[in-house]
């Protein structure tokens, strides 16, 4: 003859899921035999829901924090190089036994490094803006329209190149997202295709949209360019300032920006 407690999940007559915190106490009759149970139950559904939401929020905050820490680390690392150079340059600038040519070189490099610092700070600004923005207009975007705008922006770079562009948005014509991000993503992908193309072949680009089971849209962008060795660099391709082809000009921000923007629109998993 015991009393006990448990959590119960039941379905009400109206098919609603309800969580109960129930305790059972035995009913003893005159002959000291157990007769039945009295159950006392509290509806815990609301409480459970709130706990789940809180857990989710904490997870999100932790991830955000991790992202920010990583971001911080990357930026401060990239700032150290130019700052170290500026310190070194100013020290040697004060030597009185250097000739005019050397002095000029120092002044030029002082300027260059300051510009590098400036660029990093500007990049920082634009990346933080993407990560923090809350008031961005989320709307239904027509993929073809968005793509055309990005195409116009790279028109000049395409001029001297032998290329073929195949665009197929028939399966999924629209997507719910942020217009400026989508344009930026298309622009960066096109720009990368051109920059890292295989100079000895005609550049072929294939873009296609597909509707997925979870109502998300998969946009695939393929080209026949230089490619990136994924075995070696799999974990680095979306990193900030990471570059894989040193003989081609670039900062190493394109894919990082794309990833940030895709995630900001709720995609990427």
């Amino acid at each position: 003859m015991q009393s006990w407690k448990t959590a119960l999940k039941i379905k009400t007559k109206s098919q609603k899921n309800v969580w109960l915190d129930a305790s059972f106490s035995p009913i003893i009759n005159k002959e000291n035999n157990q007769h039945g149970y009295v159950m006392l139950a509290y509806d815990m559904t609301e409480r459970r829901k709130k706990t789940e939401e809180r857990k989710k929020l904490i997870q999100e905050l932790l991830k955000n924090n991790e992202d920010l820490e990583q971001f911080n680390y990357i930026i401060s690392h990239n700032l150290r190089g130019p700052v170290a150079k500026l310190l070194g340059l100013t020290e040697i600038f004060q030597f009185d036994d250097i000739n005019e040519e050397v002095r000029q070189t120092i002044v030029t490099e002082l300027r260059n490094e300051t510009e590098v610092l400036d660029t990093i700070l500007k990049d920082l600004g634009s990346i933080t803006a993407i990560k923090k923005s809350q008031a961005d207009l989320v709307a239904v975007i027509n993929l073809s329209e968005s793509f055309e705008i990005a195409e116009k922006l790279v028109k000049k770079e395409f001029e001297d190149i032998d290329f073929a562009l195949s665009v197929d948005f028939n399966e999924a014509k629209q997507v719910f997202g942020i217009k400026s991000y989508l344009q930026s993503i298309f622009y960066n992908l096109l720009s990368n295709s051109i920059k890292y193309r295989n100079q000895e072949q005609k550049l072929n680009i294939f873009i296609k949209s597909e509707l997925q089971k979870d109502n998300k849209v998969l946009i695939s962008f393929t080209d026949n360019g230089m490619g990136i060795d994924l075995e070696k660099y799999k974990n680095k391709i979306f990193g900030l300032y990471k570059r894989f082809h040193h003989h081609v000009q670039g900062k190493g921000m394109g894919l990082y920006l794309i990833k940030t923007q895709v995630e900001r629109m709720g995609g990427g998993n």
Partner: protein
Amino acid sequence: MKKVLLIDDDKIFNFINELLIKKTGLIESIRCFEDAEVALSQIQELNLDNRDQLPDLIFLDINMPGMDGWEFLVEFEQINLNGHYCEVYMLSSSVSPLDIAKSRTFNCVKDFISKPLSEEKIKKILLKEYSES
């Protein structure tokens, strides 16, 4: 007087460090390399044909495309310098405890220095060597 080797893929750092080191007046010669592999083969050549031109002191950057500082050290320690003593000081714009610990696994590495080098830091290194040798 010491013969110094600078290995850094950034020619601006080499430019700065060369001037700083020359200014101390404590060295005999200094050579700069932007490619660690080239520096390595130079050392190997000198080791065979021109041993009295071998460097006594190497300032080595860590992060370089191609052969990086660590890879250079592995190859360098395998060269039999036949009694010639050469010290290595590692340079990096950002110093982490992991890097410092790793540098200790190499016999020839005497210290780990955070960029930028300065006249003061260099003098301390060069003078310390004098008193040791």
